[in-house]
Subunit: 597 residues, 2 copies
């Protein structure tokens, strides 16, 4: 069965859980009535399922082609699909109307992005990075830069890239060597080699706008001497059309485990002409605008691959006849029962749903806070939106990709031997998903960002606010006195207590020995993610319970209560193990000398 976009779940989240219509007074939301949103979801589903999904396996098997003239050809069909993407008006969904966008809330655009990524992750990375470049120029560009680049990027006529990594420097950007020499006319000569540049060269767009980190001659060493430059493949002419070829070229493509349809390029800047974006030596802070958006997008990719893999596994489990139910035949007229009757198959499918549906709620809930950070007239709501976006981004990136990979692996397991062959789609989902744990900052870096920066920011305001919100929600829900909700409030309260205990432990032990914070970080991130999903499942259960009490007949509400109870019983108990592990500190972890490895 091909991928089916989860329109019903998206509508549940936007309409019932997040109650999008409550925000109709805000500018971005005014045009996002649920009627409009439903139409967008339906059309997004059609486009992604009919145009992008059929090219997913093509892209995997064919890959991209590099030629000696430094050009790159994307897999067969990608260019035509990209033209349909542009023609369909999809690029502008969440972009500023001032630059040709539709200005809808990001949370609505997110539904489209998720569907695109499930349907074809490698393809969707091209527009995904373009949107990141759009956001960085929107935030830091001069009026002229905005006028020149934003309409082209908002419409996806031009592509965008992030040029960070060099052979000797990835996570540690302070080691960066690419240099920028002023030409005296406001432009710079950029020289250096960048690697792992997604979409660094392709045949989809008439121009490519590289955002390049480089060090201006004489700038300080380390991260305080890094600036960001706009380096277009073709220099815009007086009319803003692609003009002379810039001396930036693709020297080759990486062979990778997955995302074969996306060109991962070695990019050489050979005295290429670049324009400074933002202030000198402030490049990293601007790049992080793009990076934070990308991190949220990578969390979404983990979820999206999990959704597609789960769907393949569920379809297989309902079709494949093998063995009999332990409680008596369920398909007595057939030669065997479908394998979905077996508890261990159910375990994997239920684990997957509990993570996917809870994770999607967490992602969309956070994205709504991102919209409120920009658009709310209420100062407190804007601050909370900013706080939560900053706090939740590393959790979403790390947790959803770690768990997304596990879901893909379980989906392969449901398939048995068939899953290991390339005749079935699940190997590709697993291979494609794996990069999401690595790029835009490995999940270990996300965990360090969480414990090292985000917890302590503004005196812990964000995390304290989150704890208070959880306490309030538990108390308010308990006050309803509903038996159906008891497993939820009990589980959430326990998890929140453990997360708070872990936070306190970090405060007490991380300062004394910073290695304690590093040693605890990944367990802490997972404890946080599990607790956040417990909150989401409690919210979803309460919403579903109210709908059922109101007489709603759609089976989705009863399913939410069941999958939620499964989450509380079968997934959430993991929190105690994370707490126990992290409280043992760094001592045994760091005890061996490096030579002993």
């Amino acid at each position: 069965m091909p991928y089916q976009p989860p329109v019903r779940d998206h509508a549940f989240l936007l309409r019932d859980l997040l109650e999008l219509e409550r925000y109709a007074n805000l500018p971005a939301f005014a045009d996002a009535s649920m009627e409009t949103v439903d139409q967008i979801l339906d059309e997004a589903a059609r486009f992604t399922a009919e145009v992008l999904a059929p090219l997913n396996s093509v892209g995997d098997k064919e890959g991209c082609h590099w030629a000696a003239d430094n050009s790159v050809t994307t897999p067969k069909g990608f260019k035509a699909a990209y033209e349909q993407l542009v023609a369909g008006g999809w690029p502008g969904l969440g972009s500023d109307p001032a630059y040709g966008g539709q200005g809808l809330p990001h949370v609505v655009n997110l539904a489209f992005s998720e569907m695109s990524s499930s349907a074809n992750m490698a393809f969707s990375m091209y527009p995904g990075l373009t949107h990141g470049a759009y956001s960085a120029i929107l935030a830091a560009g001069t009026p002229e830069q905005k006028d020149l680049y934003l309409p082209k990027l908002a419409s996806f006529q031009w592509g965008g890239t992030m040029n960070l990594t060099e052979p000797h420097c990835g996570t540690d950007l302070g080691l960066l060597r690419t240099k920028a020499v002023p030409n005296g006319d406001g432009t710079y000569k950029i020289s250096g080699q960048k690697i792992w540049i997604s979409g660094g060269e392709q045949d989809l767009t008439e121009n490519i706008v590289h955002l390049v980190l480089a060090r201006i001659e004489g700038a300080p060493a380390g991260t305080r001497g890094i600036s960001l430059f706009i380096v277009p493949k073709f220099l815009p002419d007086a009319e803003g059309a692609p003009g002379a070829r810039n001396s930036v070229k693709c020297l080759g493509l990486e062979e990778k485990m997955g995302i074969h349809g996306n060109a991962t390029c070695v990019i050489s800047h050979e005295e290429a002409t670049g324009w400074l974006l933002g202030e000198e030596n402030r490049g990293l802070s601007i790049m992080f605008i793009m990076m934070n958006e990308a991190r949220l997008g990578v969390g979404m990719q983990g979820l999206a691959q999990a959704e597609a893999a789960y769907q393949a596994a569920a379809a297989f489990a309902k079709e494949r006849l093998q063995g009999r139910s332990l409680t008596g035949p369920k398909n007595p007229d057939g030669p065997a029962d479908p394998i979905i009757v077996h508890p261990d198959i159910r375990r994997m499918l239920m684990d997957s749903r509990a993570i996917i549906e809870g994770g999607r709620a967490f992602l969309f809930w956070t994205a709504l806070h991102g919209d409120l950070a920009e658009a709310s007239p209420d100062e407190a709501a804007r601050q909370k939106g900013h706080d939560y976006m900053a706090l939740m981004t590393p959790v979403l990136k790390g947790f959803l990709t770690d768990k997304g990979f596990q879901v893909c692996s379980d989906a392969m397991q449901v398939h048995g031997g068939a899953g290991f062959t390339e005749h079935f789609p699940v190997s590709q989902y697993l291979r494609d998903c794996r990069i999401a744990l690595i790029y835009e900052g490995t999940n270990g870096i996300q965990a360090l960002d969480l414990v090292g920066r985000k917890l302590a920011a503004d005196g812990g305001r964000a995390v304290m606010g989150f704890f208070a919100e959880l306490d309030g929600y538990v108390a308010e829900t308990e006050a309803l006195g509903l038996d159906e909700l008891k497993p939820f409030t009990e589980g959430l309260a326990k998890a929140k207590g453990e997360l708070q205990e872990a936070t306190l432990w970090l405060m007490q032990n991380g300062l004394a020995n910073p290695d304690n914070a590093g040693a605890a970080s990944t367990d802490y991130l997972h404890l946080f993610g599990l607790t956040a999903l417990a909150y989401m499942w409690t919210k979803m259960a309460r919403t579903a319970q109210a709908k059922i009490a109101d007489g709603a007949a759609d089976p989705i509400y009863a399913e939410k209560l069941t999958v939620g109870r499964y989450y509380m019983a079968r997934v959430l108990p993991q929190t105690a193990a994370h707490l126990a592990k992290l409280k043992t500190g760094a001592e045994t972890m760091m005890a061996l000398p490096a030579e002993a490895f």
Copy 2:
């Protein structure tokens, strides 16, 4: 850094932990003095590192080639390496001297097998399955069949395969359709299609001995009507040399996520000539001799890929300079510190070692029981050996492959973006390892075998014996009154208590509703595996402590104590989560109707 066989750890296990020389009075062990064993380990290390490891990536990138004449060519260099394997006398290491083998204990041969599998898993599957066919014929063949086939299989001159799976039937062999029609002369005509036959066709051996499950005309339906046949590719002539070509052929190869160097064949039997092996309709029980050996071998493969991936990760972590230690520079004269200084990198490396070294001890300890089951003059030791082999086989297969895959994934994570490219070896380890969770019975099937068959066998004799052994060992170790061993005895006693509680829960709830047993099975298997490794780490710690007290200066002993403490602090706390999850039973897991997926 290329793969380095872990000779030092093998010697520690065989000499110090298992005290192989204690068994010098047993026939198989008489020739296995530690001096001989050390020589074997050294030569095995040389052969696997120098001959097999360099071909690993070649096999992955080139794969096998099928031609229209139904022939299969293995990757470049495989045939020459196979000739060296045969010439080196490696095949006979663990085989019966009556058929040309050296008759050494299986536990010694296991060290060689592990090294081979780490060096080149796809290559090592060819001799691995040959040894399985050898074992099945040794157990069930007529004297003529043994004389004809065993010397050829023991020397690896001929290859062996298992022909079980058909397109519509994998786990559920009762659905098997391949049929056998008696020719009246003691031979049968075998007809049917088999899939996923590893080494079903290749260019390494002069003949291939297929062991084929088929249903004799008129036999009962289901698993009670299945017989096992010997179907050689070339019919042996009067001298036992390969004669006329049998009508069994390879119709094609599977495209797979990994193990590209091993030919996974579609095999068509077209009235092929076969000989019954063992009794009519008793084929499954004989196949399970081969299958059980294979399952232990697959657990070993999970461990072997983990070892190779860990080594690559450790080498990368010591070389790659990126960032500074949280506690101050460790490489102040360099541009950055090696990433091994970062706690989250250590976490992954230490998790890996805790699993690999504990898992290897568990595997070797079990294999020794397998040797004692065959060779001990003591009836009780033989029975215990049989009991433990039966009980531990599903745990070793499921636990070591699940954890082995996790180690491979962590090793990729240590590499960051480099790990996702095919320039580094870790993608292959991850992809190759993934099949081990699936074949020879998926890990879900292992878990069902454990809770459904192995626990209850002989009134629970094996598991009760194991619990008593753990209690005894804890008491004996506590009585030593050594502080260094306290974290071990405390952790082991707690884990054993949880495992016993889970076992009791299964006895009480599995009968009332068999779905409860199925729902608990995977968590139970992991709880069992973690407890078994806690036992192994306690044994290793006590052994190491005694050595240190005796003045032994080799750093391996102090390392064992440190890695063991890490296991107890950072890995073992997972047991409580498994117990909590499994005790919630099947209710939420099975609550949704199948259509809801």
